[in-house]
Symmetry: C2
Subunit: 386 residues, 2 copies
Amino acid sequence: MNDSTLHPARRLADLETPALVLDQDRMQQNIARMRTSLARFNVAFRPHVKTSKSIQVARSTLGQVSGPITVSTLKEAEYFAANGFTDILYAVGIVPGKFDHVIRLRRQGVRLTLILDSLEMAQALCDKGRQENMCFDVMIEIDSDGHRSGVVPDSPELLEIGRCLATGGQHLAGVITHAGNSYNCRSIPAIRQMAQQERDAAVGCAERLRAAGIVCPAVSIGSTPTAMFADNLDGVSEVRAGVFVFGDLVMAGLGVCRQQDIALSVLTTVIGHQKEKGWIITDAGWMAMSRDRGTSRQPQDQGYGLVCDLGGELLPDLLMVDANQEHGVIAHRSGDPAQTPDLPIGAMLRILPNHACATGAQHARYHVVNRESSDILEVWERFRGW
Amino acid sequence: MNDSTLHPARRLADLETPALVLDQDRMQQNIARMRTSLARFNVAFRPHVKTSKSIQVARSTLGQVSGPITVSTLKEAEYFAANGFTDILYAVGIVPGKFDHVIRLRRQGVRLTLILDSLEMAQALCDKGRQENMCFDVMIEIDSDGHRSGVVPDSPELLEIGRCLATGGQHLAGVITHAGNSYNCRSIPAIRQMAQQERDAAVGCAERLRAAGIVCPAVSIGSTPTAMFADNLDGVSEVRAGVFVFGDLVMAGLGVCRQQDIALSVLTTVIGHQKEKGWIITDAGWMAMSRDRGTSRQPQDQGYGLVCDLGGELLPDLLMVDANQEHGVIAHRSGDPAQTPDLPIGAMLRILPNHACATGAQHARYHVVNRESSDILEVWERFRGW
């Protein structure tokens, strides 16, 4: 359907734009940094594949084995299971409308772990298990930072849910939490503090369950910032993280990676100018970048992205300042037209994204390059939808 | 790949969520309103299919004929041409890197019209035409409101480009403009004024070219707001518009449609609660809604969307206030937890989008219903990517 498939391009310069580019060297370094960070602790690693939705990226993350993964949709579970990944945590609260899909996956041999955070759902799962004569693996979701779902750590509901599952013939696999608020931290000490809070909440809940005589084997925590900067993971059995694999401008703004570590970019072509305004018009709009403006909540707003040359080198203070569906507007951070470099029509650029999960989701494939050259080494498919 | 394909669901309530829902009755009324508005004038209608990226929606818009369309990517041109649409305007500035794709489409018999706004590109197109012995149909893009691309109406470059094309063996098909700033208007009179400005700029440029002895057959203008409220289209030959077909909260905020005219919604399921905060957690996050927050720039911010019941009826003052990748947070506009209705886990809702083009782009298919029932009448594919 797409030119890069019909007539494989050999170099980025031969691609029709916009197109998604993945710097394999940077990705491998990002993976190595996370694995080194986690090697300080006696924990398993269960990467979140919602960022890449790519078999090749997931295998690279796990050292070429089909190890444990975290998914955000049952479609991801289905896709990764079809490609040899069988130990899968579905990290979004289960609902009855998805039971039959879960059962199909289980009957295909997928070891699919579910999560929930209410007695209501625990009861419904027990009923379904009895009805289908099936024992589900399920974790109780803990709210460690008030940002989204989960039971409050010291709530009576934690024990009620634990008892319901234990006595209802289901397998309580453990407790799970995600410190999503770590994305809003403003310093590394704040991230360390959030990591401690995330660990303490989850381990504390596991201990409350055990003290009540309820078996709670696993403690699953994680976010890219907390996984990278945790000082203490005592009692934690597994860590999840996703966006670290590519990095993005939000992570760079947090200090979790450097701008030059960002492995994902969108290749675009200069299609025109508004010289008196200092605008460079490109063919990468919000459809190619996504509407994600995560850095707008950070001390330094990076617009829709930072601009690099075809080789991936940053062009100082050049910003994607606006986006229409298939048009991008690039300008100098100062707003001074005289500062905008002269980039002719046809020039190719690479834009670093605010949020790798959101930008990647706009594309059907990765064009894989390395740092030294812009030869396309491989084309990796990614999938979308539900 | 998707359950609704493997095991066609008969009713919305049987769908696995999130899923995209299209109310066919509302869409037909939106189409009728636009056609009635344009029937006041002697103009052709060239709908922009970037909103729907759907053959069935495009045919419905054109009264079941494969009439003239506007596209935002060459992939759209390829897809619609393969489905019988042969009169296609590619409304993004052409660049040399896309010439070969354009030529392939032309040789397939597609009457593809290109646009450009610089002497540099006009010259490059003439050179390519000479080299390939091909006469391209090309329009000069006019900047009628300073929002994006195009030559300034009274610029010398307008005539230079016109002469270059006319003497370079290419076919100057006309002038084109898009009053994108109409999306930022704050009243209907302001939209009428913008429509007049859009018409005057484009017709004025055509007259300048003609006065200089350059044949300029067509004048193409349009945006949903200006097409709906124009008072005078004298000298205009065709009107383009896209988002009107579905409508969205940005258009409703502008007064271009009513909230109850919005034909597109995202079906979601309640997966949990944070009762003390008055939060309802759903399985439609930004992946299903997009990150588009167009209404945040309007007098009334609608968050990530307004909430309807399964039947499409608005639930008063209920808002999608936050989004993670696969989680949505719904709360009462007042922020008062006591005001949040009691919606149990498993309850299904439909969220009206800020921007139909952006929300639609997150999905692979439309589940078509009518207003009276939530039976799924048809499933229409939409395509993505470049």
